[in-house]
């Protein structure tokens, strides 16, 4: 160790380039393919992911790397101890941090903060990121910006350009961001589900504050980010930051308060991809065999290059792999150590793991076989992932999208339909007890394999096939890229729910229900309005709700109090009768939040939106407005300007506005009169 310490000591503290490598993705997107394998040991073209990552970090000139092991720590440690990474003469110092209690990126960062390991800007990388980006200059760029231009710059996110519908992003959450065109400072960041269509709402202020704004929907996430030393601390200060997306959103929302900023940068002609779904795993496997990531190519990853030969059409054969006569290796094929392929097989874009045995007449297309798979004669596997030790009897056919976990055994000439997910051991019963689940019928008599049920709460609304089809239907492809023009106007009301990212919806909805609960309780138990304001404010911070959202949500919550707890809708008079005491009680609350013209407007809009799908409310909207006007919460100018601004209204909204026409007329007259009076006064 002494020599290594010498190395790091000889450099000045701020010159040491540090990296944090996460060996977990804190999700099970790759299950059941790697249910029991740690993510870092997941083989990509027969080399564990962690070796790619460490090789990359070392070759790009990182001096010090912290590896965070969160799951399967022993297996990963064992693997690492067998490699050259931990040996003394490795030019990169590696610190293995075991943190089994870390359940998210946020926990890891808080741990980093607690241990005070970071002294300079560092690279944050997940082990499932495959890249050849020249990172040190980008890190220098980040440091220079932090020193010279923008002290608050805390993170630079790296993105790879990829047109919509590109295979590398087709099945992942899509990135939508807006950034200052000159500096690359991000002013808006949102994740959209993979197959999302429809509208997206950008807050107006992002266009008003910058002289030029770039909107990007042509980027794929790389899983790489460069962080300032203050990032772990920020995570520690905000215990609700769990993922990088939370962090980015939090920083952008609180930019004015905290003065922190996030930047983005494209990696140019380099390759970078983040394996965040099984479909991406296949794509990245193909990209690596296609040599997109050069010099990260299979023969360079092999401990001894001479062991793996690359011939034309990107066929990588290990010295010890055997191939029978008449077998066609059509392109992008990797055969691991000791793999044997029978005669007259056809392999296209396939990875055959070490020790796999393939019978005769086997067809593999877009298939990845982990170590030790045994395939009988005439098997056909298309666009599927097979975990370690999977056995297929002669004649088995796997249709696209099958994923078989470790140890699955398929007997008989079974045919597995599209999107079959099987695991080799019965799924754990979370509630204990219950009879042992039956093996899936698909595996045939004597086979082993249980249907894998993905957990419910996942945001995996992407496609029913977790692996995704090879090609999306062209129609879907063509309009997933552009926002659809033909959608009718009435959808504009649903924007808040429909098009925003799942996170945003969740947060605002949670916030809304929490506020509603506090108000109902407050109304019933006569809690003083000051305390209610405190409660609402704390919920606001917990869910990162903007001020505008807050105002309209509070108004809506107040309006829903009268009907809370009952299913049926009240008729207009009864509703009004109940609403009046509620409004009177919460008047201090309203006075507290509705102060500026802008908040008045958002209050009015909230009233309008609420009335649109609530007939009783729309009937008594005029009365409510009158009341608020009398209490000086709404000013007549705001009401008038709200009413005058009638562009792009839905039919309901028009109807609602007709309800208040009288009031508006009256207000207008009153105003004119007062103006007259004023002018009279002026003249006198």
């Amino acid at each position: 160790m002494s020599s290594k310490k010498g190395l790091t000591n000889s450099l000045k503290a701020e010159d040491v380039v540090q990296a944090v490598l996460l060996t977990d993705n804190f999700s099970d997107v790759l299950a059941p393919y790697c249910l029991d394998t740690p993510l870092s040991l997941l083989p990509l073209v027969n080399v564990p992911l962690v070796d790619y990552a460490l090789e990359y970090l070392e070759s790009s000139g990182i001096h010090e790397c912290f590896i965070y092991l969160c799951k399967h720590t022993d297996a990963v440690k064992k693997h690492l101890s067998g490699t050259r990474w931990l040996s003394e003469d490795s030019p990169m110092v590696i610190h293995v941090q075991t943190a089994e209690d870390c359940l998210s990126l946020g926990d890891v960062m808080r741990d980093l903060d607690a241990k005070a390991l970071i002294q300079s800007d560092f690279l944050l990388m997940s082990v499932d990121c495959i890249t050849n980006v020249d990172i040190v200059p980008i890190m220098k760029e980040h440091s220079a910006r932090r020193k010279n231009d923008d002290r608050g710059s805390v993170m630079t996110l790296l993105y790879r350009e990829a047109t919509p519908g590109h295979p590398v992003r087709r099945h992942s959450a899509q990135v939508l961001l807006a950034a200052d065109a000159e500096t690359g400072r991000m002013v808006f960041h949102q994740r959209l589900p993979a197959a999302a269509r429809g509208r997206v709402t950008f807050p107006l202020h992002i266009f008003q504050e910058q002289s030029a704004v770039e909107l990007h929907y042509d980027l794929a996430d790389t899983g790489l980010s460069i962080c300032s030393p203050s990032v772990p601390q920020l995570f520690a200060d905000n215990f609700d930051f769990q993922t990088r997306d939370h962090f980015v959103r939090g920083i952008i929302v609180n930019e004015e308060v905290m003065g922190n900023t996030v930047y983005h940068r494209r990696v140019g002609t380099h390759y970078a991809a983040h394996i965040d779904s099984q479909a991406t795993l296949l794509t990245v496997t193909q990209d690596v065999t296609d040599r997109w990531v050069h010099p990260v190519v299979p023969e360079n990853r092999c401990p001894h290059r001479a062991d793996l030969r690359c011939s034309q059409r990107n066929v990588y054969r290990h010295r010890t792999a055997k191939v029978g006569s008449g077998t066609r290796l059509e392109g992008c094929v990797a055969l691991g150590a000791g793999a044997s392929v029978g005669s007259n097989c056809r392999l296209l874009r396939a990875v055959v793991g070490p020790g796999c045995q393939l019978g005769d007449n086997v067809t593999l297309e877009d298939a990845v076989l982990d170590a030790g798979c045994v395939l009988g004669d005439r098997c056909e596997v298309r666009r599927s992932l097979l975990g370690p030790g999977v056995q297929l009897a002669a004649g088995a056919r796997l249709h696209p999208g099958c994923v078989l976990g470790a140890g699955v055994r398929v007997e008989g000439a079974a045919e597995l339909p599209q999107g079959t997910l099987l695991v080799g051991r019965p799924p754990e019963d979370e509630f204990g007890g219950g009879s042992a689940p039956e093996p899936s019928r698909l595996v045939g008599a004597g086979g082993r394999g249980f249907t894998f049920l993905p957990e419910e709460d996942e945001e995996d609304t992407l496609s029913p096939l977790r692996l995704g089809p090879a090609e999306l239907p062209t129609a879907e492809l063509s309009d997933s890229g552009e926002s659809s023009e033909e959608e009718t106007e009435d959808e504009s009301e649903e924007r808040l729910d429909g098009a925003e990212s799942p996170e945003v919806v969740d947060d605002t909805k949670l916030f809304y229900s929490e506020v509603l609960d506090s108000l109902v309780r407050g109304f019933q138990e006569k809690i003083s309005p000051e305390n209610l304001i405190l409660e609402v404010n704390s919920s606001k911070f917990a869910y990162n709700v903007t001020v505008q959202e807050l105002n309209s949500l509070v108004v809506k919550a107040i309006l829903s109090v009268p009907e809370h707890g009952s299913d049926e809708r009240l008729a207009a008079p009864a509703f009004l009768a109940r609403l009046q005491p509620v409004l009177t009680t919460f008047m201090p609350l309203l006075t507290n939040y509705i102060k500026s013209e802008e908040s008045e407007l958002s209050c009015l809009r909230a009233l309008e939106e609420f009335s649109c799908d609530h007939s009783a409310m729309s009937a008594c909207l005029a009365k409510v407005l009158m009341l608020l006007y009398q209490r000086d919460i709404l000013s007549e100018t705001t009401i008038l300007s709200w009413h005058a601004d009638s562009e792009g209204l839905s039919p309901e909204a028009v109807r609602v506005r007709q309800q208040v026409q009288k009031l508006v007329d009256w207000l207008q007259e009153a105003e004119e009169e007062s103006e007259d009076e004023e002018s009279e006064e002026d003249s006198s």
Partner: protein
């Protein structure tokens, strides 16, 4: 087979790592670094007998050639050093054996000796003795080699005037530092016209053309695309090329596109002149298309950007770096010692390397 000592192993794998990391750097730079590595291997105190050193070097050479098949300088310089070590040892033995006829040691490798010695008798020289001063001599030899490398571009350029005449139309492809030095030298005295083939997709030709156009004595520079090659060849007097490796049969491993160029030159009977520094001369043979590592491919990013989702994943894209050019398409090699025909490359090989060491660079 020889095994590397742990220290040597570390040096070699460190070298391999750094070289791989650097990616595409001029081969001259790799040659310099290889010499540095060889200096370290020689000055390492672990070996005492010549046989030990030779064993170490052969093992290192074999590993380097296998790990870095696209770096010609690495294997060839190891072979040069091996030849030096064997010669030193042989010369020393002969001096000490005090031959009765007093035959001068320099004749040790003469053609006559080789012919009369018969097969198998000569090579099994006994290297197991310990030789004082061998280390110092070899280090001095490496310094000489360094001087040779430093001067080789100049020495090759010296030949320029006998190849390029006034008003010649010369064609070159891509960017080769040796060729540029050659043309620059000719441009000092003569006015001529250079056609530069752009060397797609890497665009080395563009940079070369810019450098030539910036010369004080103006050369007329025209840049053409690869596809225009055949059409333009009729006007060309001479093709002057750089090379990646000169193979043992006089063939070339050259930047991709060179074979098409050489064939076009053959069709129009235009002489093809190849500028080759001595470290690019390799005892390696080309053994057909399946030879792994011979035709290295890199990322197809320069052919089609990865960002283009409409094509990536549907079309197969490859971007090979090298071509094999058979010896019959090459007219002349210009090395630092002068011109050589491809058919006499074997003579140079025998001059530079010992036959026993040829095998270590065969991948």
């Amino acid at each position: 087979m020889e095994e590397l000592s742990p220290t040597a192993e570390r040096l070699v794998s460190e070298f391999v790592r750094t070289t791989r990391r650097q990616g595409a750097v001029p081969s001259r730079q790799v040659a310099d670094r290889t010499l540095e590595l060889l200096r370290q291997l020689v000055s390492e105190p672990g070996w005492r007998q010549t046989a030990q050193l030779v064993g170490q070097l052969r093992a290192a050479g074999r590993q380097l050639a296998a790990e870095l098949p696209t770096q010609p300088a690495v294997g060839t310089l190891v072979c040069r050093l091996l030849k030096m070590a064997r010669e030193e040892h042989g010369a020393h033995d002969e001096v000490h054996e005090a031959r009765p006829h007093g035959a001068p040691p320099s004749q040790v490798d003469s053609l006559h000796r080789r012919l009369t010695a018969g097969r198998g008798a000569a090579p099994a020289a006994d290297l197991s003795s310990e030789l004082t001063g061998l280390r110092a001599n070899l280090l001095a030899g490496l310094d000489e080699l360094q001087t040779e490398l430093d001067a080789s571009a100049d020495n090759i350029a010296r030949e320029a005037l006998s190849h390029i005449h006034a008003d010649d139309v010369v064609l070159t492809a891509g960017r080769s530092a040796t060729v540029l030095a050659f043309l620059r030298r000719a441009a000092r005295e003569r006015a001529f016209h250079v056609l530069v083939v752009e060397g797609a997709p890497f665009g080395g030709g563009h940079r070369a053309a810019a450098e030539l156009a910036a010369l004080p004595r103006r050369v007329h520079v025209t840049v053409i695309a690869e596809s225009a090659l055949f059409a333009m060849m009729a006007r060309v007097n001479k093709v002057i090329l750089g090379v990646h490796t000169v193979l043992a049969d006089g063939g070339l491993r050259a930047p991709v596109g060179t074979q098409a160029l050489a064939l076009a030159a053959r069709f129009h009977s235009v002489p093809v002149i190849v500028c080759a520094p001595s470290y690019k001369l390799s005892p390696q043979f080309h053994r057909g298309d399946q030879q792994e590592g011979f035709l290295e491919s890199v990322s197809p990013e320069s052919v089609l950007p990865y960002a283009d989702g409409a094509l990536v994943g549907r079309a197969r894209l490859t971007c090979p770096l090298f071509d094999y050019v058979p010896p019959e398409l090459v007219t002349l090699f210009v090395t630092h010692t002068g011109g050589t025909s491809p058919w006499y490359v074997y003579r140079l090989l025998n001059e530079y390397y010992d036959q026993q060491d040829h095998e270590i660079v065969q991948v």
